[in-house]
């Protein structure tokens, strides 16, 4: 309020108005003298495309390239030198590489048991986590969409709160909660007369901890999307079904579900993609342990690339990861998209 008053005071003062007029005249002078650029749209899009090309497109292709090589070390070679008058621009080679053909892929698929472990761990999280999270998200959204619920906004805000927590930040909270010795969860179990669980100290405990953590973080996110989807279902459809004597379940089965199908599909696909890329949570909460029981694919890529500097091999893992994720998405879209309910 006060700020607005001050703002309007300043804006109506003579000095401000004179200054702003001066600024305006200068601007007019500039725009009158700047000729219209014939390729104006290209001027608008080129900054984007320059960054896009250098930092997104090139690396993508280079990863593919790198997966057929062994990384030997930093290169001092000059890849390309352009002499333009007094100016010399030289582009250095990116790395010293040794061609190995498909051998990375062969090792990955047939011989690398740690990679297979990471694939198994990630798949486990995916298989438990995605149905759990989507199911809970749908249930929450359905209940919140009911006409009789009061304080909808409050419930929605509270349940969506974890969406605002950073990935590493929320992971540290779960690290504490599930601590085997001092964690609140084990304390609660003991209070209830149960025996404490070795959450982070056992393979299955650690995996389940990750599932619970990720569900906590993304439940609200999926609920928001599903709730928005539910709100687009025309009210008349429910009314028509009611007149036809449909039960609550029948209304859900024959009205809600078919109408919600595209949104549900989006939630499933994006959760799948997200789960296969999981990194921060195992890095912080379990460190991939105990004894690699929770190491994920991306964590394996990170270890291979940046702890052991097997950059070529890590690139091959990345390519495999992209293939897996794309295949999963295509399968889900294929089976979820076109068939009628």
């Amino acid at each position: 309020m006060v700020l607005a008053a001050i703002q309007s005071r300043v804006r109506s003062s003579t000095a401000y108005r004179q200054l702003s007029d001066q600024v305006r005249y200068t601007r007019q002078g500039i725009s009158d003298n700047v000729p219209t650029i014939p390729g104006l749209p290209y001027a608008y899009i080129s900054p984007f495309f320059i960054l896009f090309g250098v930092f997104l497109l090139f690396p993508t292709l280079y990863t593919l390239y790198l997966s057929f090589f062994n990384y030997v070390g930093v290169s001092n070679d000059i890849l390309l030198q352009i002499q333009a008058g007094p100016l010399t621009v030289s582009i250095p080679a990116i790395a010293n590489l040794e061609f190995v053909g498909l051998s990375h892929y062969e090792r990955l698929i047939f011989r690398d048991s740690l990679f297979h472990t990471s694939l198994f761990n990630t798949s486990f999280i995916f298989l438990v986590q995605v149905p759990l999270m989507v199911g809970l998200g749908l249930a929450t959204a359905l209940v919140l969409d009911s006409k009789f619920i009061r304080a909808k906004g409050l419930f929605r805000t509270l349940i969506a709160l974890p969406v605002a927590t950073g990935l590493v930040a929320y992971s540290t909270i779960f690290l504490l909660l599930f601590n085997d010795q001092v964690g609140l969860i084990n304390y609660a179990l003991v209070q209830l007369g149960l025996s404490p669980v070795a959450w982070l100290g056992s393979a299955w405990g650690a995996r389940i901890t990750l599932v619970i953590a990720v569900t906590w973080r993304w439940l609200g996110y999926n609920m928001i999307i599903l709730l928005a989807g539910l709100q687009t279902v025309p009210q008349q459809l429910y009314e028509a079904a009611e007149i036809d004597g449909a039960s609550r379940w029948q209304k859900f089965r024959y009205v809600t579900l078919p109408q919600l199908r595209p949104v549900l599909l989006f939630v499933v696909v994006s959760s799948t993609i997200g789960t296969f890329q999981i990194f921060s949570e195992p890095y912080v909460i379990t460190g991939g342990g105990p004894s690699n029981a929770t190491i994920t694919i991306v964590q394996y890529i990170y270890n291979q690339a940046f702890l052991q500097l097997n950059l070529g091999y890590a690139s091959a893992v990345s390519v495999i990861l992209v293939l897996i994720v794309s295949a999963m998405s295509i399968v889900q879209i294929h089976y979820g998209g076109d068939q009628d309910a």
Binding site: R17, Q18, S20, D21, R24, Y25, Q28, T36
Partner: protein, 377 residues
């Protein structure tokens, strides 16, 4: 103020899939200070023509001159034209004051104080001076319309363009705004080109009317010209409401015979000399029930409007409409003969649709006997 000369204007839209000729070889002059209305069915090229004048479309060929200056290749911002759009195109993030002042802020060196004073003057003229600090979405349709007008007139443009500015208003407001627009235009004296699809609006507002169809000019003339002396059957059908009754009749000397027992002997057979067949047109308001009338037809629907009755009838396979006095209400299903005066009869060439004969009735009945002496006489 400016005279607009349009010469051989042609505008073709198209890509590799084909071309659409939106405006075809249009020659037209808009006189200085004139209110010219472009009218025609949708897709006739009226809006494209307006946009070419505005500089929003590049022309394919031809020239556009303002007062003899060729502006064909000038951009919109260099032409000194103002335009009111169908959806008003008010800037949603600016207040009314900013909206109206926007053209001055962009293209003149007036100070903020001068601009404010001018905005307030214009707002006063349009009766929206109490709304200056509001945003467009807080305004009613009529108020938004006035803001759009204000933004157009604030910089005294040479040419004023309006693209269906009244079509988003409800019927009652539309007729009020129609009058206001006309008063405003004659007060400012700005050359105005106005596009509408509504022939009533065109008749009511235009000094002259341009009728377009399929990108081609059909006729330019005063409202009375295009109503009484249409150049062809299209114009005759488009102007006037309800539409003119038209059908084909065989010619036998001076005798016209047509569907459903239509039979009319022309007083002046020379009109149809050389024709075997001819298109006959009679406006609904010129028909009246008549003993032995030329058009025996079966009444299908009677609409009582209070001040008059609309009769819908069938003569053979032709549907007829007649506007008759409210005292006469025939029952549906009876056959009534309609007649007309030959001076109200239209005849068109059946091949080219060009007019052969149009209205010849008296148009200049003296009214001097009714004039009241003025206060100073």
């Amino acid at each position: 103020m400016a005279t607009i000369d349009i010469t051989k204007l042609r505008k073709v839209f198209g890509d590799e899939n084909g071309e659409i000729v939106a405006v075809d070889d249009l020659d037209l002059t808009v006189e200085d200070g004139e209110f010219l209305v472009f009218v025609g069915p949708s897709g006739c090229g009226k809006t494209t023509t307006l946009r070419c004048i505005a500089g929003l479309e590049d022309v394919t060929s031809g020239t556009i001159e303002f007062d003899g200056r060729d502006v064909t290749d000038r951009r919109a911002r260099e032409r000194d034209v103002a335009m009111v759009f169908q959806n008003y195109a008010l800037y949603p993030h600016m207040t009314v004051r900013k909206n109206i002042g926007f053209p001055l802020r962009l293209s003149t060196k007036q100070s903020s104080d001068e601009i404010d004073a001018r905005v307030e003057e214009i707002a006063g003229l349009l009766g929206i001076d109490t709304l200056l600090e509001q945003k467009p979405r807080e305004l009613s349709g009529g108020q938004q319309q006035r803001v759009a007008l204000g933004r157009a007139i604030i910089r005294d443009p040479e040419v004023f363009l309006m693209d269906e500015p009244l079509s988003n208003l409800d019927a009652k407001l539309r007729s009020t705004m129609r009058t206001e627009l006309q008063e405003l235009q004659s007060e400012l004296g700005v050359t105005t080109a106005y596009v509408t699809h509504d022939q009533t609006e065109a008749m009511a507002m235009g000094d002259r009317i341009v009728i377009l169809e399929g990108g081609e000019l059909q006729q330019v003339g005063t409202p009375s010209d295009v109503y009484r002396s249409p150049a062809n059957e299209f114009v005759a059908g488009f102007i006037g409401s309800p539409s003119i009754n038209a059908f084909t009749a065989d010619v036998d000397g001076g005798l016209l015979t047509g569907p459903g027992g239509f039979e009319y002997a022309l007083d002046d057979p020379s009109l149809v000399e050389g024709y075997d067949r001819v298109r006959v047109g009679v406006r609904p308001e010129d028909l009246r029930p008549e003993v032995d009338g030329a058009m025996p037809s079966e009444v299908t629907v009677v609409e009582e409007m209070g001040n008059e009755n609309f009769l819908y009838a069938r003569m053979g396979d032709v549907d007829l409409t007649a506007r008759i006095e409210s005292e006469i209400h025939p029952e549906e299903g009876v056959t009534v003969a309609f007649g007309f005066d030959e001076e109200d009869l239209y005849l068109f060439d059946p091949k080219t649709s060009e007019s052969i004969k149009t209205k010849t009735s008296e148009t200049d009945i003296s009214y001097e006997q009714y004039v009241q002496p003025g206060p100073d006489q």
